[in-house]
């Protein structure tokens, strides 16, 4: 091919191997620099390097005493070294036939001594060298030679590690993207499924409340049960993905343990077959109130008891709860669900908590279910820092048991909880929701509660209605066209400066969504399909927050203080003028804007500015400045309209605060 340098037999593969490491022209790396230093120390030479040889050059990954980054392949000593399988040592180049006339021997780097070890990839290609070079003749001893070979091996290992890390990193990214894609898929699917399901369950609820004959009632019952089952399955899948992503946390709220257990018992009693005795045994000194996650305990028990009842055709199913320990702070309670059902084979006991496995292949066909239940139960109990155990004998029955530790509830927390269930009176509610079925459903439910409801088809309509009318609360769907729930809420909070309670409604209940709702300023969260009671509870939560002194707008009356020289009566008089006059002026502003009277808009805006300045409503003052400027150019733009709307809301808030003073 050429006469300048010898070509190894496997040159093509060798170059391919070199390229796999992506090492050429990379930045310096301490690991390689350390190895080069080590070679220099070990061999006692002023020149050492680690280099890689491609088609036409030797490139130095690391070097001492050379000072350049690469040399042409044809002048290197190493072009020969990469042909060898072991170390090449030339003790005195002057005595070496091949090199004695080499330009780098007679001049250049003045090489008298050369030792080079090929860097060999695991699959046998010499992609480069590690070398020691001196200006005087030299002979390495056995130890030095050994050491040089060992360093060469380590350099190769370092290279391998680097590539493996890069590969791993790439794989990790792929895996992360896959998880994200899965989360997104689940979120979307759950949305797609929950939206129609919301309508089905909701309207069935409403239909069930109308006057029905016996057959119709039975049909409706069946629809209700099927709907709820479908919902359970979807919730199971969502729960799993939440647990997986670490987004499921265990609440600590006061709740009545006895009531919860009785509720589960009553709920499942209806499913009990005639030949089965269903018992609930509660320890006499078991506490009533504890701090913990009622919903999750419910879920655990419904799952376990549901299973027990499903696999028991005769005999008994017994739920028992016993206090096993009590400290100053908490109770330890042992929960047990025991049945006399079909039991579980010994070799299946280990896998029953795995996902998508049921004790028997045929179980799914005979008994139904997703195969997710026990897995969720196990994970929920894990999240409680507890462990679930099972004892079972085939044909005799099974017992599932676990011990949970609950903090004691102190009486003030209990009082706080019970007092929050006060009456709300008549509320005027705005619903932002694009789905017509859901609109109708929400309308019936809200009317059932005795509240009034207005409907906006999207966020923008919602904002418009909010500026026109007075509402007590907003129900906000998250996925809407034009402006979604998040954007709308941000606008209401940041631009309109309104602190009206906002309840998020979403069929999209996944990973971090609740947090996102709260972070944009919503007050409560209802997953769809919603239960009437859940919705009412969320409305109550949001309304109670509203009553707390948490205003989005704060008034700074220091300017007025200064003007009034501390005279309270005068201050009151000014506030009264503001309260009487300013809202009226905003209304006038809207009117003259609608009449296209730019001059009047300008005059009004100008007049209002001083009033707003005195009350240091700087944001509102800047709105009227903008309005005045635009109007003085004869432009009645949509920007003015926006600003008037914002002004309207801001003034409303300010007046509300002033009236309370």
């Amino acid at each position: 091919m050429n006469d300048k340098f010898p070509i190894p037999e496997n040159e093509v593969e060798r170059l391919a191997a070199l390229r796999r490491y992506n090492i050429l022209d990379t930045l310096p790396d301490t690991a390689f620099d350390d190895a080069t230093k080590l070679v220099s120390y070990i061999c006692g030479v002023p020149i050492a390097h680690i280099s890689f040889i491609d088609e036409n050059r030797q490139w130095f990954k690391s070097e001492i005493g050379i000072g350049i980054s690469e040399v042409p392949r044809e002048i290197t000593f190493c072009r020969y070294t990469i042909l060898e399988s072991a170390m090449v040592e030339i003790n005195d180049t002057f005595l070496n036939e091949r090199f004695k006339d080499d330009p780098n021997v007679t001049g250049g780097f003045n090489v008298r001594f050369y030792a080079g070890v090929p860097l060999t990839t695991p699959d046998g290609y010499n992609i480069g060298t590690i070398c020691a070079v001196d200006h005087v003749a030299k002979k390495l001893d056995e130890n030095q030679r050994n050491a040089l070979s060992i360093v060469a091996k380590h350099v190769m290992a370092q290279l391998e590690l680097g590539t493996k890390n890069i590969e791993l990193d790439a794989q990790k990214k792929i895996a992360e993207r896959a998880v994200l894609a899965k989360d997104r898929f689940l979120a979307n699917m759950s949305h797609e499924i929950r939206t129609p399901l919301n309508a089905i369950i909701g309207f069935t609820d409403l239909l069930a409340q109308t006057h029905l004959d016996e057959i119709q009632s039975e049909y409706i019952d069946n629809v209700q049960i099927a709907g709820e089952n479908l919902l359970l399955i979807i919730n199971d899948i969502l729960d799993l993905s939440k647990i997986e992503s670490g987004n499921l946390t265990i609440d600590s709220e006061p709740f009545n343990l006895r009531k919860t257990l009785k509720h589960v018992y009553n709920l499942l009693k209806v499913k009990v077959l005639n030949d089965v005795e269903f018992n609930l045994y509660l320890d006499a000194d078991m506490p009533d109130m504890v701090m913990g996650d009622q919903g999750r305990l419910n879920q655990i028990l419904v799952n376990l008891v549901g299973n027990a009842l499903k696999f028991t055709t005769e005999g008994e199913v017994t739920v028992s709860v016993k206090k096993t320990d009590e400290t100053d702070e908490d109770y330890s309670l042992r929960f047990s669900v025991k049945d006399s059902g079909i039991g579980i084979e010994k070799n299946k006991l280990k896998t029953i908590f795995d996902r998508f496995t049921q004790a028997e292949e045929s179980t799914t066909r005979r008994f139904g279910g997703t195969g997710l239940g026990l897995n969720i139960v196990k994970q929920l109990i894990d999240l409680h820092n507890a462990e679930i155990h099972v004892k079972s004998q085939q044909g005799r029955g099974s017992e599932f048991f676990f011990t949970l530790t609950y903090k004691k509830a102190d009486s003030s927390q209990i009082a706080a909880k019970t007092s929050s269930s006060n009456n709300l009176g008549e509320l005027k509610i705005l619903l932002c929701e694009d789905n017509i079925l859901n609109q109708k459903l929400a309308k019936s439910v809200i009317n059932n509660f005795g509240f009034e409801l207005d409907i906006a088809n999207n966020g923008e309509e919602g904002i418009e209605l909010l500026t026109e009318n007075k509402y007590d609360l907003v129900l906000m769907d998250l996925q809407m066209p034009i402006k979604d729930g998040y954007q709308t809420t941000e606008y209401i909070r940041n631009e309109m400066k309104m602190n009206i309670p906002i309840v998020a409604m979403t069929a999209h209940s996944l990973v971090g969504e609740q947090e996102r709702c709260f972070s944009v300023g919503m007050d409560a969260y209802v997953p769809k399909p919603f239960k009437q009671a859940t919705l009412l509870k969320a409305i109550k939560t949001a309304m109670n927050k509203e009553n707390e002194p948490k205003s989005g707008r704060r008034l700074d009356l220091s300017f007025l203080e200064e003007m009034s020289c501390g005279d309270e009566d005068f201050k009151k008089e000014m506030i009264q003028i503001f309260v009487d006059r300013i809202p009226e002026q905003v209304t006038q502003l809207q009117t003259v804007f609608n009449q296209d009277d730019a001059d009047a808009v300008k005059r009004l805006a100008h007049n209002m500015k001083s009033s707003l300045d005195i009350f240091m409503l700087t944001d509102l003052s800047s709105y009227v400045s903008t309005i005045e400027e635009e109007a003085s150019l004869g432009r009645l733009t949509s920007e003015i309209k926006d600003k008037i709307d914002l002004l309207h809301c801001g003034i409303e808030d300010a007046v509300k605060i002033l009236k309370e003073l």
Partner: protein, 121 residues
Amino acid sequence: MKIILAEDNDILRKSLSFFLESKGFTVDQFSDGKDALDAIEANHYDLILTDINMPGISGMEITQYVRQNINSNVPIIILTSSGVEQTELDSFDIGANEFIAKPVSPAVLLVRINKLLNTRV
């Protein structure tokens, strides 16, 4: 000391009057430029404090009239809200002694008023 104040925003006018009165001035206040000018012609004032944009006659017109028609050199302070340089320059051109940009700081206003009244004495 007697000051006439012409300003059409009620809250600002009342606040300024109240403030100045509590600092010992007598203040006649008007929300209409024309009424203010009539009062200036009829009475003696030690200082005129006027807004620019008002119904009736503007603050600029009042200033012009006082300087050219009444031929008085009574100190005049113009309250401007525009923040536009030209308005401020115009204020001086037509004979105003001071202008103060809105929002008016009561303390600054007081200092300016006192300065004008003292230099006259």
